[in-house]
């Protein structure tokens, strides 16, 4: 699990995730064309964009699920494209990913789901793994009896929390979230935002969050990346609100945006 002997690139130490000139294409459709992004250690970065603008594709490229046509992706200083499989797997275990509906293994209980990365990637004793699993499940705010349930027996919000516990199983440095509050009621979504915020503070995580939820952006994101015309535009909430691009203006200045950001200030 140690990454000490990996070839690393000279990047500023506080950039944990760097995307340069990313190009992805499906069939004839170009999703990204020269997208650049830096994610700094310890920040919460929200990625927004219109439906179909390639937010989830960006997340998949960053975690190495799809190979970009061109461009560089460096995660924790390591270039994804040139890593051998074993090293990429080792690197992936330092990134926790929460998929949209939790993506829990349906044949395993919640506790077994959270234990999977620990059993596969560490040599810890079984009692210690069980104890770690119990702590992680409690940390994401699930009741203790949820541990023995199967994903099908949980509500959507609980499945997301269980998926988060699994993503956090190996104490990753980067947490990548795909629409964490989609499909939750406003109270559940606010609670989930709060959970992510407190975990990020407590565990010192860097969070990369694809979202549509203006309240999440206002509540926990330090910076926001906007996917626009196949490129990324990064800024803080305040700087983006000064942008003149019509899509950004509509997004942040529309009635929902105004409501979300008004309540913040």
């Amino acid at each position: 699990m140690r990454m000490d002997n990996l070839p690393s690139f000279i990047v500023a130490p506080d950039i944990v995730l760097q995307v340069r000139g990313l190009v992805t294409r499906f069939g004839g459709h170009t999703v990204h064309e020269g997208a650049d992004l830096d994610v700094l250690r310890g920040e919460v970065l929200g990625v927004v964009g219109a439906s179909g603008s390639g937010k989830s594709v960006l997340l998949k490229a960053v975690v190495g699920l799809i190979r970009p046509i061109a461009g560089h992706i460096r995660v924790l200083g390591h270039e994804l494209g040139i890593l051998s499989d074993t090293r990429r797997i080792a690197l992936q275990s330092r990134c926790g990913v929460l998929f949209q509906d939790g993506a829990l293994f349906s044949s395993l209980t919640v506790a077994q789901n959270v234990a999977v990365p620990l059993v596969e990637h560490t040599e810890l004793s079984r009692p210690l793994i069980d104890e770690i699993v119990r702590v992680k499940i409690a940390m994401v705010g699930l009741p203790a009896d949820a541990a023995l349930k199967y994903p099908a027996e949980l509500s959507g919000g609980m499945r997301k929390r269980a998926g988060l516990a699994r993503a956090l199983a190996l104490d990753p440095e980067i947490l990548l979230l795909d629409e964490p509050t989609a499909g939750l009621d406003p109270i559940g979504a606010a609670a989930f935002d709060e959970l992510i915020g407190s975990l990020q503070q407590g565990l010192g995580l860097t969070v990369f969050m694809v979202t549509h939820d203006l309240d999440s952006l206002a509540a926990i994101c330090d910076r926001i990346a906007v996917l626009l015309d196949r490129k990324l535009l990064v800024g803080t909430l305040d700087s983006l609100r000064q942008e003149t691009n019509p899509w950004i203006r509509d997004y942040f200045g529309g009635p929902r945006g105004r409501a979300a950001f008004h309540s913040r200030s």
């Binding site: 560490t122 040599e123 810890l124 210690l128 992680k136 940390m139 023995l148 503070q201 565990l203």
Partner: protein, 379 residues
């Protein structure tokens, strides 16, 4: 990233034992740390006060925090209260979060009672079976009612859907059905020839092929391929629509899913299946004739002439009588299992498997009934 692995040192200072933890207390060091901590024991005359100094920790993650907490708890349980001192500011939030999670009540696995569980399972199984048969009977009624409605008002029949399904279940089935039937004919002729040659009765290969293919094998092959190909497709199509809530949408729009989805599939398969069976019979006989020519030198004219002796009109009709019945069973089971899909994508897979197994089972059972029936009717 050349961090010092985790360590724990003890210094005795008068009445106070100072335990200093340092280095990296994280996941990669957890295994070593865990065994090392378990080996720590206090001597026979323990000091009055124990302090756990965390000031020299370089890195700490949840596993490290958990190990520290377990260590502290163990000493406390043994009657040595431990004071945690000198926590670095960057570790406060993490320790707090993990230690609060440790305090959450542990999970208790429910007590197992084998006999009671067994009785419960039997009860649940019986009730499920009862509900299942009730649902099956009502489904059967709904389908018959919809079929009658369509027959009374032929304009309600979805002709486009009917033709589409005839194309998919019929025309597109021909290549695979033809290939398999031909091979079955070849194999039958080959096996028959071997045995009959010993009796110098090679020509009776034709009788064997004619009767077995026309009465049993042709239609069975057809039914099995159609169940595997079209029955499963029906379940998967309707099941996916169910998962997408398309069926619910139809109901809210005042459309009857049975009439829209089930009736065209049943009618299409019932119309197409006799044609498929006829095709399979002919190709299987062709395969048999080819093999007879190669192995036994029985040419095509001899083959056809010999065929006329044991085969009468009804032998040729048996498959055509069975075909629509088998088609009805396969289509009904396929659509029924599709409508039973609940919620998840996983359920589509389960139901599809079930639909194929059930329809093949029913086809073979029905085939046995047909044999008895034809025997009684002297057909």
């Amino acid at each position: 990233m050349t961090a010092e692995p985790g360590w724990l040192k003890s210094v005795c200072d008068g009445g106070t034992l100072l335990l200093a933890a340092g280095g990296c207390w994280n996941l990669s060091a957890a295994s070593t740390l865990s065994t090392a901590l378990a080996a720590v024991t206090l001597g026979p005359t323990p000091p009055g006060r124990i302090k756990l100094d965390l000031g020299r920790l370089e890195a700490l993650d949840t596993v490290g925090a958990l190990l520290l907490r377990q260590f502290r708890d163990r000493l406390t349980r043994q009657g040595h209260p431990v004071a945690v001192v000198n926590v670095r500011s960057e570790h406060i939030a993490l320790l707090d979060a993990v230690w609060r999670a440790v305090d959450a009540p542990p999970v208790q696995a429910p007590e197992r009672r084998p006999l009671r569980e067994w009785v419960e399972q039997v009860g649940r199984g019986s009730i499920k079976a009862l509900h299942g048969s009730y649902a099956l009977i009502s489904y059967f009624g709904l389908v018959i009612a919809a079929l009658v409605r369509v027959l009374i008002h032929p304009r309600r029949l979805r002709t486009t859907a009917l033709v589409y399904h005839m194309d998919h279940t019929g025309l597109r089935c021909l290549p695979i059905l033809g290939l398999l039937s031909f091979l079955i004919g070849v194999v039958l002729a080959y096996q028959g020839a071997e045995q009959l040659r010993r009796l110098a009765a090679e020509i009776y290969v034709v009788n064997l092929l004619g009767l077995s293919i026309l009465r049993e094998i042709g239609i069975l092959i057809t039914a099995i391929i159609v169940a595997g190909r079209s029955g499963s497709a029906f379940t998967a199509q309707i099941g996916t629509m169910k998962v997408n809530q398309e069926i619910d949408a139809m109901r809210t729009l005042g459309l009857d899913p049975i009439e829209m989805l089930v009736v065209p599939r049943i009618l299409a398969l019932m119309l197409v299946m006799p044609l498929l069976a006829f095709f399979a019979n002919m190709v299987a006989l062709l395969g048999g004739a080819t093999m007879s020519y190669i192995l036994l030198d029985i040419n095509f004219y001899q083959f056809v002439n010999q065929m006329r002796i044991p085969i009468d009109f009804w032998d040729a009709m048996v498959a055509m009588i069975k075909a629509p019945v088998f088609a009805l069973v396969i289509a009904m089971v396929g659509c029924y299992e599709g409508l039973l899909v609940s919620g998840s994508a996983e359920s589509v897979g389960l139901r599809t498997t079930k639909s194929v197994v059930e329809s093949i089972f029913l086809v073979i059972v029905l085939n046995a009934f047909f044999s008895i029936l034809f025997q009684l009717l002297h057909i």
